[in-house]
């Protein structure tokens, strides 16, 4: 009883906060963090290499604690994901790899952005709930990969 809300998350955070969620999402998906923070290096791309870039539309990477052209590089097999702050200040994910179709790379990038969003929201919500003295009654990951958190507080 009370109210039921459905919310579409907006990712606004400093680069360290987003990088922490990137690490969580990478771990959940079996991606290896190549280098935690790396300067962008222009690389020559082979003709067989596909590349797909996705932008998290409802996101804003705050520039505090961040130098220009920083990014996180993740790998899984022959696929490489690069997470960075784009020129519009949004978080973007670029997937590339040899021997993979554009569709495969797009699916990988989409799956990663969804997991990143889930991790970012989880971190932010849990931090704030603890700040407001909520007690965690139960916390579980369901079969559908959703995270369920039940918290409680007492009011005079």
């Amino acid at each position: 009883m009370g109210a039921v809300l459905v919310l579409t998350p907006v990712i606004i955070g400093s680069w360290p906060a987003i990088a922490a969620a990137v690490a969580g999402a990478a771990s959940a998906m079996g991606l290896i963090v190549g280098e935690s923070v790396k300067e962008i290096v222009k690389e020559s791309q082979s003709t067989t290499e596909q590349s797909v870039e996705l932008e998290l539309s409802d996101s804003e990477v705050l520039t505090e604690s961040m130098s220009t052209d920083q990014e996180v590089v993740l790998t899984k097999g022959t696929i490489e994901l690069r997470v960075k702050r784009d020129e519009r200040g949004r978080c973007s994910v670029c997937a590339k790899g040899t021997g993979h179709s554009e569709l495969e790379l797009k699916q990988m990038a989409e799956e990663f952005t969804q997991k990143l969003t889930q991790c970012f929201v989880y971190d932010k919500v849990m931090r704030e709930l603890k700040n407001k003295d909520f007690q965690v009654v139960n916390e579980e990951v369901a079969e559908d990969e959703s995270i369920r958190i039940h918290v409680r507080r007492w009011m005079d």
Binding site: M1, G2, A3, V4, L5, V6, L7, T8, P9, V10, D58, Q114, K115, T117, Q118, F120, V121, Y122, K124, V125, E128, L129, K132, F134, V137, D144, E145, S146, I147, R148, I149, H150, V151, R152, R153, W154, M155, D156
Partner: protein, 70 residues
């Protein structure tokens, strides 16, 4: 003492569903506002019967406690 329960489900895609229980009257709206400020845009909101029960004092205390402006 009133018990307030909040059940939060973060889906695989990142969408968040929140069920606020035990907060009577306008108190549940205080929680709604706080959570939308914290998480993002409200896509859907349904008020349940508890919302229509009076609880004015608790609402004022809760707003101060959560640090929500008018």
């Amino acid at each position: 003492m009133a018990q307030h329960d909040v059940e939060i489900t973060i889906s695989k895609t990142g969408e968040v569903k929140v069920h606020i229980k035990g907060a009577k009257g306008q108190s549940c709206l205080v929680y709604s506002k706080w959570l939308s400020q914290l998480i993002g845009k409200v896509k859907d909101q349904q008020l349940t019967s508890e919302h229509y029960e009076p609880d004015v004092r608790a609402r004022i205390d809760l707003k101060q406690n959560l640090g929500i402006d008018e």
